[in-house]
């Protein structure tokens, strides 16, 4: 490839990377944390009883109690089974969700507002959903641009494939880290870009195809891609969910039930569908359908359906790494950290090529480490306040920005330490609020990694702080000696 092609690719890479850096960073950071969104749901209510499985009787009892207490109209009823990635029993409708114990007694209302805010940040950047979804999907396409331009622009792709040059003024280390992350994890970045774009763009494709080819009937297009509802004799009565669930053990003994949905509740088209995870398959689940009396009707056909249908149905697990329990989630988390670091190092390279303009540099650090701090503080506020967490998070981000503009001493080291201290405060508040429950598996699986982050960020911050003060004293010594020479 000639020099001009590489330079053009580098120009494209730089523009996209710099001008979309903040959005890319926020989506990558929230996505990396949101790999554990189900674990965060458990973490938010760590005292809830957990179990490995549940009986059909307990499910019936939990749903009956729930329906007696929640009489508002709903189109759906749901039961989330403990064999899903959350080992708890949950019964819910379109409005609220309740946990139940192993016997089917309702325990308390599900309250996962921090997780919801985190996932909303990742999927929509907390914007109105229609616009947010398209913007985040655009970032998926932008990641594809960055992967291609990054590889084309790399001048010494094979020569430097395993190199890491630290020290100096730090610029070479950032370049090497950026290029190593970018090259070796390129397949992951590409997969995340394509699957990330799917979540928003699929709905746009649907609207365009419906408008052009189906007289605006979106349902008709959805039915072509996903399996349409079954055509049944008019149904009536209470859905026999326990009977339906009991049959799954014989219908699909190798599959783990994730959740059950009663569609079109109280209408003549009412039916029950149980989603069960197929082992070693990327599809989210196979759907097992039953009529209101709990008689098996058939499968939705995702497991052995058309490849296009399987592909669309595989996007969730492929994007969130939710396919082999915690092992696959940690795998995705590490690769996600690398993708996030890629955004950070890319911007740092650009800033160091400009010899670190003070305000822009400080603002970038306030976005990077300040957002970690803002997320941690939002989780703290969530423990004592029931209002909008989106408002809290973005108020903190604005506060960070304003403080950064006026406080010239807010360097990378201080921001890093602040983020560590915020996570430490979160852990302290969490233990204060949840007491002994803070030491259950559902808490520790996130609290221990957070503690590791606290230790790392404080130590790393201290190292950077001492480096900064050394640089400062060296600079003033040089200034002093050059002034003495000129005198």
């Amino acid at each position: 490839m000639n020099k001009q092609t590489k330079q053009n690719a580098l120009n494209a890479h730089t523009w996209v990377g710099v001008f979309l850096s903040v959005l890319l960073f926020l989506v990558c950071l929230s996505g990396t944390i949101a790999v554990f969104h189900l674990e965060f749901e458990r973490w938010e209510q760590p005292h809830i009883e957990e179990m490995e499985n549940v009986t059909p009787l307990a499910i019936e009892k939990a749903m009956n109690t729930f329906l007696a207490q929640n009489t508002e109209e709903t189109n759906h009823l749901y039961v989330v089974f403990p064999t899903s990635d959350i080992p708890r029993l949950v019964v819910e409708n379109d409005h609220s969700a309740f946990f139940a114990d192993k016997q089917g007694n309702l325990i308390e209302k599900e309250s996962v507002s921090f997780t919801e805010m985190l996932v909303d940040l990742h999927l929509y950047l907390n914007l109105p959903h229609s616009w947010g979804m398209i913007l985040v999907s655009a970032l998926g396409a932008i990641i594809c641009t960055l992967v291609v331009t990054g590889i084309v622009a790399h001048k010494r792709i094979t020569k430097d494939a395993f190199k890491l040059r630290r020290g100096g003024n730090g610029q070479q280390a950032q370049i090497d880290l950026h290029n190593r992350f970018g090259l070796w994890a390129a397949p992951f970045h590409f997969i995340i870009g394509v699957t990330g774009a799917y979540f928003g763009l699929a709905s746009v494709i649907l609207v365009v195809v419906a408008t052009l080819n189906y007289d605006g009937d979106r349902e008709a297009v959805i039915n072509q891609i996903f399996t349409p509802d079954p055509v049944l004799e008019p149904q009536s009565g209470k859905p026999e969910i326990g009977k339906a669930f009991a049959q799954l053990a014989t219908l699909a003994p190798e599959k783990s039930p994730i959740f059950l949905t009663v569609h079109e509740v109280g209408k003549p088209e009412q039916f029950i569908e149980i989603y069960a995870k197929a082992p070693n398959r990327m599809i989210y689940a196979e759907g097992y359908r039953f009529d209101t009396s709990g008689e098996f009707i058939g499968v939705a056909g995702y497991e052995y359906g058309e490849w296009g249908k399987q592909l669309a149905w595989s996007m969730y697990r492929l994007h969130f790494g939710d396919f082999a329990g915690l092992a696959s989630k940690w795998f995705y988390f590490i690769l996600g950290v690398m993708l996030t670091m890629l955004c950070v190092s890319g911007m740092e390279i650009w800033l160091s090529k400009k010899a670190h303009p003070p305000l822009a540099t400080r603002l970038w650090y306030s976005v990077v480490w300040g957002s970690v701090s803002a997320l941690a503080m939002t989780a703290v506020v969530d423990m004592f306040y029931a209002g909008s967490l989106v408002v809290i998070f973005w108020s903190l981000m604005v506060f960070n920005t304003v403080v950064t503009v006026f406080l010239h001493r807010l360097s990378k080291a201080l921001w890093l330490m602040l983020s560590g201290l915020s996570v430490l405060l979160l852990l302290i508040a969490y233990i204060g609020v949840n007491g002994a429950s803070s030491f259950t598996i559902s808490s520790l699986q996130l609290n221990v990694p957070m503690l590791v982050y606290v230790v790392w960020s404080l130590r790393r911050g201290a190292v950077l702080l001492s480096r900064e003060s050394n640089d400062l004293s060296a600079k003033s010594a040089t200034k002093f000696s050059s002034a003495a020479v000129s005198e």
């Binding site: 494209a12 291609v148 870009g193 052009l212 080819n213 891609i225 590490i334 400009k354 003070p358």
Partner: protein
């Protein structure tokens, strides 16, 4: 157990490629690639082909780090540090970047959407298959168009050319419904 064997094979593949890089030996590089492919087959055997391919592609991204860290060197501190350069916030620059944002995020979105659907409509698959192709193709085409636009000096020409292609896809979509 089979997954562990596949992981060891993947690690061996990275180690072999690393050794080939150090010694500049093409034969070792080929051996490394073969080991990597074998690890993919073993992963597919253990986890199903879908996860097998995914893990095979992504695992080296993590396994490579011990080898990168083994090759790290420390550079001396530079004697001079340059003065920070001011950022350009001139009106022309702000307007130009604003226009680029609009083209990259909105214009190319519409263009890529219609070209993707046009291509998908011409494929010999069912609606689900065509939409499946579209799901993969749309972000890739959008990304490549953005690359082409940002890399070229004749931006208006490129934008116009892609707009014409997108316009030609409209009759295709009407004549060959998805």
């Amino acid at each position: 157990m089979i997954t562990v064997i596949a992981s060891v094979l993947s690690l061996s593949a990275v180690a072999t490629v690393h050794q080939s890089w150090r010694s500049r030996t093409l034969a070792l590089f080929v051996v490394g690639l073969l080991l990597w492919l074998i690890s993919g087959v073993v992963f597919s055997f253990a986890q199903g082909w879908e996860f097998g391919v995914l893990i095979t592609l992504c695992l080296p991204g993590i396994l490579v780090w011990p080898f990168v860290l083994a090759n790290q060197i420390v550079l001396p501190k530079p004697k001079n540090s340059p003065e920070p350069r001011a950022l350009d916030f001139s009106r022309a620059n702000v307007l130009q970047n604003g226009a680029t944002y609009t083209v990259v995020l909105f214009a190319f979105f519409i263009i890529a959407l219609f070209i993707t659907l046009g291509i998908s409509a011409l494929t010999p698959f069912s609606t689900a298959g065509k939409v499946g192709i579209g799901i993969i193709l749309l972000p890739v085409l959008w990304g490549l168009f953005v690359y082409h636009y940002l890399a070229t000096s004749s931006k208006i020409k490129i934008l116009a050319a892609y707009s014409v292609i997108a316009g030609l896809c409209l009759p295709i979509l009407v004549l060959f419904p998805l």
